[in-house]
């Protein structure tokens, strides 16, 4: 590898003055007189942007399960989970984004286990009041969401790679909550908050007073590792076990 500029140029510099700079300037002028314009008349014509452009977050209302991973992943805390009516009139939990605070990092789309959150190429977000910048779940919907706007989390486990398996995975496929049996009081709060109803309370025995002892049982295929059960547990009996 050789230097491209240093070997060629400083030797050629002929000091100051003389006709050479003028000739060079003339040459450059002739060369650059005719060329395509690079200016874009912005409000009337817009630059092409690819689909994976990270503008404001978008939401596919029907896909969302209201797990709240986006809320916790958000670095600026611009996402809050609110309760709204879905098409059937049922109350569901969906994210609401305060776009005025959003830093367009795309973490919500990246960590969404069901790809309901997407990035959108929508960047013209100016409004007259701050309140208008709050995007409720219905307003978050983006017309013409394509597959490119989804961000897929494709991580590889080191343990898999050591075995020679190259299969992408993500934390919502591998990490699962585990129960510390001694701490659990069987309040079944975890089962109530689980967005995917992966937790089911099962009776494991009876205590001295003759009442049922309940313990949560996890359906690993349904769980998305949203950690809501871990946060809600009053006795900190649940903990996420990471698979690496």
């Amino acid at each position: 590898m050789a230097m491209k500029y240093l070997h060629k140029y400083p030797k050629k510099f002929r000091g100051t003055g003389g006709i050479r700079p003028m000739l060079q300037a003339l040459k450059t002028m002739v060369k650059t007189t005719v060329h395509r314009p690079v200016t874009i008349m912005y409000p009337y014509e817009k630059e092409w942007i690819p689909d994976n452009y990270r503008g404001r977050p978008g939401l596919r209302f029907d896909r969302c399960i209201g797990c709240g991973i986006c809320e916790r992943a958000c670095p600026t805390k611009c996402i809050t989970i609110v309760e709204v009516e879905d098409d059937d009139g049922k109350i569901v939990r969906r994210p609401q984004v305060y776009v005025g605070r959003c830093m367009m990092c795309g973490y919500c789309a990246e960590y969404c286990p069901v790809d309901a959150m997407t990035t959108t190429p929508d960047y013209e977000l100016a409004e007259f009041t701050r309140k208008d910048l709050i995007y409720d779940p219905r307003r978050l919907a983006f017309e013409g969401t394509t597959e490119m706007m989804e961000v897929h989390l494709e991580e590889h486990l080191q343990s898999n790679l050591d075995k020679g398996i190259e299969k992408p995975t993500a934390f919502f496929d591998t990490d699962r909550p585990v129960l510390d049996d001694n701490l659990c009081i069987g309040c079944s709060r975890c089962a109530k908050v689980c967005p995917t109803s992966a937790i089911e309370m099962v009776v494991v025995g009876q205590n001295a007073k003759g009442r049922d002892i309940k313990r949560p049982k996890l359906d690993s295929t349904k769980c998305v590792c949203c950690e809501r059960c871990v946060i809600e547990c009053p006795k900190d009996a649940l903990e996420i076990e990471e698979v690496l």
């Binding site: 491209k4 500029y5 690819p50 994976n52 990270r54 367009m104 990092c105 795309g106 494709e154 080191q158």
Partner: protein, 374 residues
């Protein structure tokens, strides 16, 4: 009339305050210079107008949430700063990057270096009164920002590296676009050089001012192109390689002159070398299968310990020092900003120069206040 004796008069030295809002200062900072007529006797930089408590804010965030914040340390070198943060976290976790991620990071870093140097050249052009250089450089920079958009979705706040890899694999058209831009840029840069190096005014204003010796460079801790322009042959990419730099072949431009013009030439050559690095990295990427991993799953908690990582920023030697206490957020994250150290050399650089040289000399630091004040 008898001849006036020169010794009988007290000529005043004057402190002139330039900034925080001043055309020469790219960002909010103050340079106080002591002038004797036209000559500068002393200079004193004052930074801190943009202090936002970055390091303290990191202590309240989980490790993943700091990556987009690291982007905002420097508006034009965002990729290297988030790379540096990920690197220190990876060292703490003892993770070895997948090969594909290493090359993708090199490509992203070099795109970042070129566009940062172009921003510097544009600013230097305006400082020396040539608006054409500014417009041409920004036109070329736009292509590299477009590459950023294609790679990770944003122009400046890239948020591309992740702890254990990169955010996404490159799109299928990225290599084609990148090669076109690099080939085009190598030609276009010669056009810009025709504007600068062939211009008597431009060269005369840079040549022979603000000499620094190797001793001064060592004592003041100057790093980056400003150091390599003074004859110190040191580049972290080559001497303490990270990512895939040890597998790539490139030259580190070093000049012995030590004046502002040498610093300018080092940066221009670095842009050519970055183009070559991008080309080599793509050649190496073609040998790696497309489905190979580019991101490892890492633990969200970092084990207890202290870790240090450094990287070659476009402006110099960037360093981060992490003290982790075993939880999900850092106990302390210290940033060593190259500009913060380089700007402290302004006295050594400006002594003996004239007032009109200040923009040209200070432009050679490539001031970026986001990382200086953090």
């Amino acid at each position: 009339m008898s001849e006036l004796s020169r010794t009988g008069y007290q000529t005043d030295k004057m402190w002139v305050t330039m900034g925080p809002q001043h055309p020469f200062s790219h960002g909010l900072w103050t340079l106080r210079v002591k002038v004797d007529g036209e000559y500068i006797l002393d200079a004193e930089p004052e930074v801190g107008y943009l202090h936002r408590g970055w390091e303290k804010e990191c202590e309240n965030r989980t490790y993943a949430k700091i990556i987009p914040m690291a982007d905002r340390l420097c508006y034009s070198a965002s990729m290297t700063w988030s790379h540096l943060y990920c690197k220190v976290a990876e060292e703490a976790l003892d993770v070895e990057l997948p090969e594909r991620a290493q090359y993708l990071r090199v490509i992203a870093d070099e795109i970042c270096r070129i566009q940062s140097h172009l921003m510097w050249l544009a600013a230097l052009g305006t400082d020396l009164g040539s608006l054409t250089i500014f417009l041409w450089c920004l036109r070329e920079r736009e292509f590299f920002l477009d590459l950023n958009v294609r790679l990770c979705g944003q122009r400046l706040t890239t948020n591309y590296p992740r702890i254990g890899g990169v955010r996404n694999d490159m799109p299928y058209y990225f290599e084609r676009d990148c090669m076109r831009v690099v080939t085009r840029f190598e030609k276009a840069l010669w056009d810009i050089i025709n504007l600068t190096d062939e211009s008597t005014v431009f060269v005369n204003r840079l040549k022979g001012i603000s000499y620094l010796t190797r001793k001064q460079v060592a004592n003041l801790g100057i790093t980056g192109p400003a150091m390599r322009g003074c004859g110190v042959d040191y580049d972290i990419r080559r001497d303490d390689p990270y990512a895939a730099y040890d597998k790539l072949d490139f030259e580190v431009p070093v000049l012995k002159e030590g004046d502002a013009y040498a610093r300018y030439m080092v940066r221009i050559e670095e842009m050519f070398q970055s183009c070559e690095l991008i080309r080599q990295a793509f050649n190496a990427l073609q040998k790696i299968p497309k489905t190979s991993p580019y991101r490892l799953k890492v633990s969200r908690n970092i084990p207890e310990g202290t870790h240090m990582a450094r990287i070659e920023d476009p402006r110099g030697d960037a360093m981060m020092y992490l003290v982790s206490d075993g939880t999900g957020s850092p106990y302390r994250l210290k940033v060593r900003s190259p500009v913060f150290v380089n700007v402290s050399a302004s006295k050594a650089m400006l002594e003996g120069c004239r007032v009109a040289d200040i923009p040209a000399v200070m432009a050679m630091i490539d001031m970026c206040l986001g990382e200086t004040d953090r």
